[in-house]
Symmetry: C3
């Protein structure tokens, strides 16, 4: 069975067609580069509404996605509600992802990285990760956490994903 990956773009404007969703396709491009395992990708674009984010993540988890990446809605603005949806949907929060993505983003020269409330966690057998919207930041954040992603998915009961060693060094601890 081909593993599935879900990508959820959370954006009022992209969901209304005011502008094109660039972040979602960009995340797919980066993941295809980082993963040696061929996966099936499903992308959705939804507005910044807690119930829609919760429903999309639940639906993708229910369909057996190994990994679900969201993009958008993690800042401190009134319409940024992705973390509120995460609080409802995550069964286990993994605070180390948010810490490390903020730290990597700060180290890359973005002092406003501390404003991001991005997090990650487990829903069913799926790992859900909140990513930022900008192409450069997506790479910075994924580089920071990707080495731990395949092992995390295995621990959660998902499929085995192999990294592309030319792009990323996947790590699995010896037992």
């Amino acid at each position: 069975m081909v593993p599935k990956i879900g990508i959820v773009t959370v954006s009022d404007r992209a969901s209304r067609g005011i502008y094109e969703d660039v972040s979602g396709p960009n995340i797919e491009t980066v993941l295809r580069e980082y993963l040696a395992t061929e996966c099936e990708y499903e992308r959705v674009v939804i507005p910044d509404e807690v119930p829609e984010i919760v429903a999309s993540v639940r639906r993708l988890a229910g369909q057996g996605c190994a990994l679900i990446c969201t993009t958008g809605g993690t800042g401190p603005a009134p319409r940024d509600v992705t973390p509120e949806a995460m609080r409802q949907v995550l069964e286990k929060e993994l605070p180390g992802f948010g810490e490390e993505m903020r730290r990597a983003s700060l180290a890359s020269g973005v002092p406003t990285a501390i404003l991001s409330r991005q997090t990650a966690g487990i829903v069913g057998k799926s790992l859900v990760i909140n990513l930022p919207g900008k192409p450069d930041s997506i790479r910075v954040c994924l580089d920071a956490v990707f080495p731990a992603v395949p092992y995390c998915i295995e621990l959660a009961g998902g499929p085995t994903l192999e990294g592309n060693p030319a792009r990323v060094k996947v790590f699995r601890p010896r037992k």
Copy 2:
């Protein structure tokens, strides 16, 4: 309109007049140095009681303070309850502030920085930041997060504050 800034000293002893509040005036001094924008400051001194902290933060947010800094009550001692009040009053918690202030404080040679439960977040259109009590630590913590403060206040719907470039480098990401 002149932007407002609130400073809340949380201290049983200072509120009873057992000793003078040094932290509150110290925070005002540092903020006046870091901000080029002239602001109006309101300082209050209250005991370590959750309802009083919540009420003070709500009142200052309701009066339109762009920034509210608290000092005191973030440690692990029984009377340290500022984080409990934050949990009640914050509409959006910004964990990156606490992470970065603890890290900066640790890097400055204070291993007990990990005992601080300081955090930050949004109440209405106000950014609320928990600061430590000691003058040296106030600077260390503000230096760590201040570059992101004006942009955060703008995202929350507050006024534009300009930093004093001789003291601090305010950052706003290109859109």
Copy 3:
């Protein structure tokens, strides 16, 4: 009075005798090395069940343990529930411990450190710290936070513990 320290090994398999508990005795060994103060140690081995973790921590806190270390159950796997128990039992969470232990573990060359949900906090007058299971990781994590442990226990109302200066540098801020 001799200070008490509790060690809780959380492991389905060790509790059923499928394998021997190595982590618990290992934590005792490291703590005996790091502490100059002679302490009384109590070790328990329990399965990965929230009620049993909560009950063990409460019982050890009720018996006046200055420090309670748990080992195991902090990952993202379905049976990893130590953080869920912590959420029920901790009166004050100290997020700086988890942040710093993950960061030290990452810096030691373990990218999967971000998968750990370990935390720490106060129960009564006891400091509770979640440690990993592997001997090497136990040292890495304790090294990262131990300098702040005796001062934290004092702030929580517990006894004075002295570090062994040959092994660890305990820090107490000047008041």
